[in-house]
């Protein structure tokens, strides 16, 4: 599943990051890396963008970008 499908209060782990090269470089520079824990921190009124806890950071992503991040649910 991708990050968009992650629901509030669910915990997941980043499995891979796809998308255009510039986006991948940007995410990497911000410290969004494979293996990090993610969860939903906040949702805007219309559902896009959302804020995610990624590692220790809070990062705001639009659906367009979050859709490139593959995650796996953690129990």
């Amino acid at each position: 599943m991708t990050l968009i499908e992650l629901k509030t209060r669910q915990q997941a782990k980043i499995m891979s990051i796809a998308g255009p090269e510039s986006l991948r470089q940007r995410l990497v520079a911000l410290g969004v890396l494979k293996g990090l824990q993610v969860s939903v921190a906040a949702t805007s009124l219309l559902g896009n963008p959302r804020v995610y806890f990624i590692g220790k950071q809070q990062i705001c992503l639009r659906t367009e970008e979050a859709g490139y991040i593959q995650v796996e649910l953690q129990s």
Partner: protein
């Protein structure tokens, strides 16, 4: 004895590099005594800035580079920093590192060290980290990095001497490039590029940026680089950027394992604040409420000190009136200078308060949250998420705001951000609102103020939507934003900021407003027989403004506002104040000359009509053509006329 050779002191250049929002600019301000704008949000510094400090007889030039996450991305800020390091290598780099997000901040440090640059690391915001019960062993970190590491704090000056000594000691630092080991296929790729004549760091930079981050390569090298990238792509799903990052983070985690204690999660207070500020349903209403409270307080709290200033100005006017002999010069001083300058000076407390509140929202970290809340709306009207910073800066002054739109790379989004910026009501327009709202809507002045700012935002968005549908988009730009942790604004930095803004306002009063007031007075006093020139001019143009119920006085005031918007208030005071010496007199005169509906229309006209001269010049420079500056002027004039006509007629029906 001849001593023809001047004793020049030795001087060194030190560049500050660090992630966005790591407190770099605060540290720069402390080091140089400068007062650059700071805020708890990425992207406040766009271009590099310089300042200097003398220490133990040596001059240090400090360069504050824009905050960057990496040297390998091809964004405007990153290219500014990268080109600077290559073209004019500094004597030493002061790498500012946010102690609360060590791993990511150190990833940039790794890039500097791999490039073999002379570096001193300043661990910033250490106090915040320690408050959460975490620790970093500076000595251990220093050994791991093989570079000096010092703790720093953008909020107090006590560590500056130690930092300056450390910088001094490290001039001429011996440095070997840090050798980082990457994944085997990556190492093979690096090796093949080294064979083509690249240095190791260039090879790594080339790979992680997919051929973007290294300049001046021969054709052979480019060829070898492409082949290496293709080979890597065929072997791995991960991008080279990720593989390089994994290598670096592996090294960093090893380092932090030894030197730093485990971090805890977000604190309870932060969690609670975010639960309200980012709440799906409450977030936007809370944002709008906050803005309303801000304008209400700007008006209400500001009125007390304003009365004192008013009393002071009246007193000075009366003293001059009593002691100077009757003459034209006396009239110039009392009716032109004191009335005009005093008439704007009265609004100093309101302007200062507005800047205080904006700084409060910025430094606490709320602005980044507001950007998140409004992102969807902004993207619907063709604005990029990054437009938020320039638009908010517009509430202060449109000139730096338009310049900060440089961070937006997509040309259409940038142009739209520039063109709608004048509708973000700058602080120069505040005196006009406070004056008129105080006269005509004394009981709801704060709400009127809030309404005007909202109207400005609405018009800006409507124009943005219109422009987005007429200008073609060139390419998509991603919007990924880090939400900073909540911070208690530092009283010192808030005070400096407000002090600085008050200084700007006073300087403007001493310059353009002083000259403007005298000019208006001259035009109004001559010829001494017959109708004054100003009145003639006013009557000539007045028919244009008659549909809104403006007299020749308001017409003249609006014309004078082309120079700078504060002059509108000064002109009104000079034009109406012929024989009255305090604000109450002006209020009575204006109140009886204008209908409330006209007063409202005048505020709307002031809000929307053409940008001031400085802003027009900035639009011309930033868009590179007079065409867009012209569009901005025409758009403002047409909208202001239509808007104030509409408001006048609607308000006339109601009031």
């Amino acid at each position: 004895m001849l001593d023809s050779i001047p004793h020049t002191k030795p001087s060194y250049t030190i560049a500050l590099i660090g992630n966005p929002n790591c407190g770099k600019t605060s540290l720069f301000n402390q080091l140089t005594g400068a007062r650059q704008r700071t805020g708890n949000m990425a992207g406040i510094t766009v271009t590099s800035r310089e300042g200097q400090k003398e220490w133990r007889g040596i001059i240090f030039h400090f360069i504050d580079l824009p905050g960057i996450y990496s040297l390998a991305n091809s964004r405007v800020e990153e290219m500014v920093a990268r080109d600077y390091l290559i073209d004019t290598p500094p004597d030493l780099i002061l790498n500012v590192v946010d102690a609360n997000n060590l791993a990511r901040n150190l990833a940039l440090t790794m890039q500097l060290l791999e490039q073999g640059l002379p570096v001193v690391v300043a661990l910033n915001m250490l106090d915040e980290l320690e408050k959460q019960g975490d620790t970093v062993d500076l000595a251990e970190l220093s050994i791991g990095l093989s570079k000096p590491v010092i703790g720093s704090d953008g909020r107090s000056n006590s560590h500056i001497p130690a930092l300056m000594d450390l910088l001094l000691d490290n001039i001429g630092q011996q440095c070997e490039p840090l050798l980082m080991t990457y994944e085997p296929h990556m190492e093979q790729a690096i090796c093949s590029l080294e064979k083509a004549g690249m240095s190791r760091w260039q090879a790594v930079r080339w790979l992680e940026s997919a051929g973007d981050g290294v300049a001046l390569l021969s054709d052979d090298q480019t060829q070898a680089g492409r082949q290496a990238l293709e080979l890597l792509a065929s072997r791995h799903d991960e991008s080279p950027a990720e593989m390089v990052a994994e290598g670096r983070y592996g090294f960093i985690h090893g380092l932090l394992h030894k030197s730093s204690s485990e971090h805890r999660d977000q604190s309870a207070a932060d969690h609670w604040l975010d639960a309200v500020a980012l709440n799906r349903w409450l977030g936007l209403p809370v944002f709008i409420m906050l803005l309303w409270v801000m304008f209400e307080a700007t008006f209400t709290l500001g009125s007390y000190p304003a009365d004192w200033i008013d009393a002071g100005v009246s007193w000075v006017g009366q003293q001059v009136g009593t002691f100077m002999p009757e003459s034209l010069l006396k009239n110039l001083i009392v009716e032109g200078l004191i009335a005009g300058v005093g008439g704007v000076l009265v609004f100093l407390p309101n302007v200062v308060l507005l800047f205080f509140f904006i700084a409060l929202l910025e430094q606490s970290g709320y602005m980044a949250r507001a950007a998140f809340l409004t992102d969807n709306l902004m993207s619907k009207v063709g604005l990029h998420g990054k437009a938020f910073v320039p638009l908010v800066m517009g509430f202060g002054c449109n000139v730096p705001a338009i310049m900060s739109a440089r961070t937006i790379e997509e040309p259409r989004a940038r142009l739209i951000t520039i063109l709608i910026n004048p509708f973000m009501s700058c602080s120069a327009r505040l005196p006009v609102y406070v004056l008129l709202a105080g006269i005509f809507f004394a009981d709801h002045a704060g709400t009127v103020l809030f309404g005007l700012y909202m109207l400005g935002i609405l018009v800006a968005f409507a124009i943005a939507a219109l422009l987005a549908r007429t200008i073609p988009e060139q390419h998509d730009e991603t919007f990924i934003m880090e939400l900073p942790p909540w911070r208690f604004p530092s009283p010192r930095s808030m005070l400096l900021h407000v002090w600085d803004k008050a200084g700007d306002f006073l300087r403007k009063i001493g310059g353009v407003i002083l000259v403007g007031s005298i000019l208006i007075w001259l035009l109004q006093s001559f010829p001494q027989q017959g109708t004054p020139w100003l009145e003639q001019l006013g009557h000539f143009v007045a028919p244009l403004f008659a549909p809104m119920g403006f007299g020749w006085q308001e017409t003249v005031a609006l014309l004078s506002g082309f120079i700078a918007k504060e002059v509108i208030a000064a002109s009104l005071v000079v034009v109406y104040q012929t024989d009255m010496n305090d604000m109450a007199g002006l209020q009575a005169a204006l109140g009886s000359a204008l209908a409330p509906a006209s007063g409202l229309a005048l505020m709307v006209f002031t809000l929307l009509y053409m940008p001031c001269l400085a802003t027009i010049a900035t639009i011309r420079r930033e868009t590179g053509s007079w065409r867009w500056a012209g569009v901005s002027i025409m758009m403002g004039l047409v909208l202001a006329w239509l808007g104030s006509w509409l408001v006048f007629n609607l308000a006339s029906l109601w009031m």
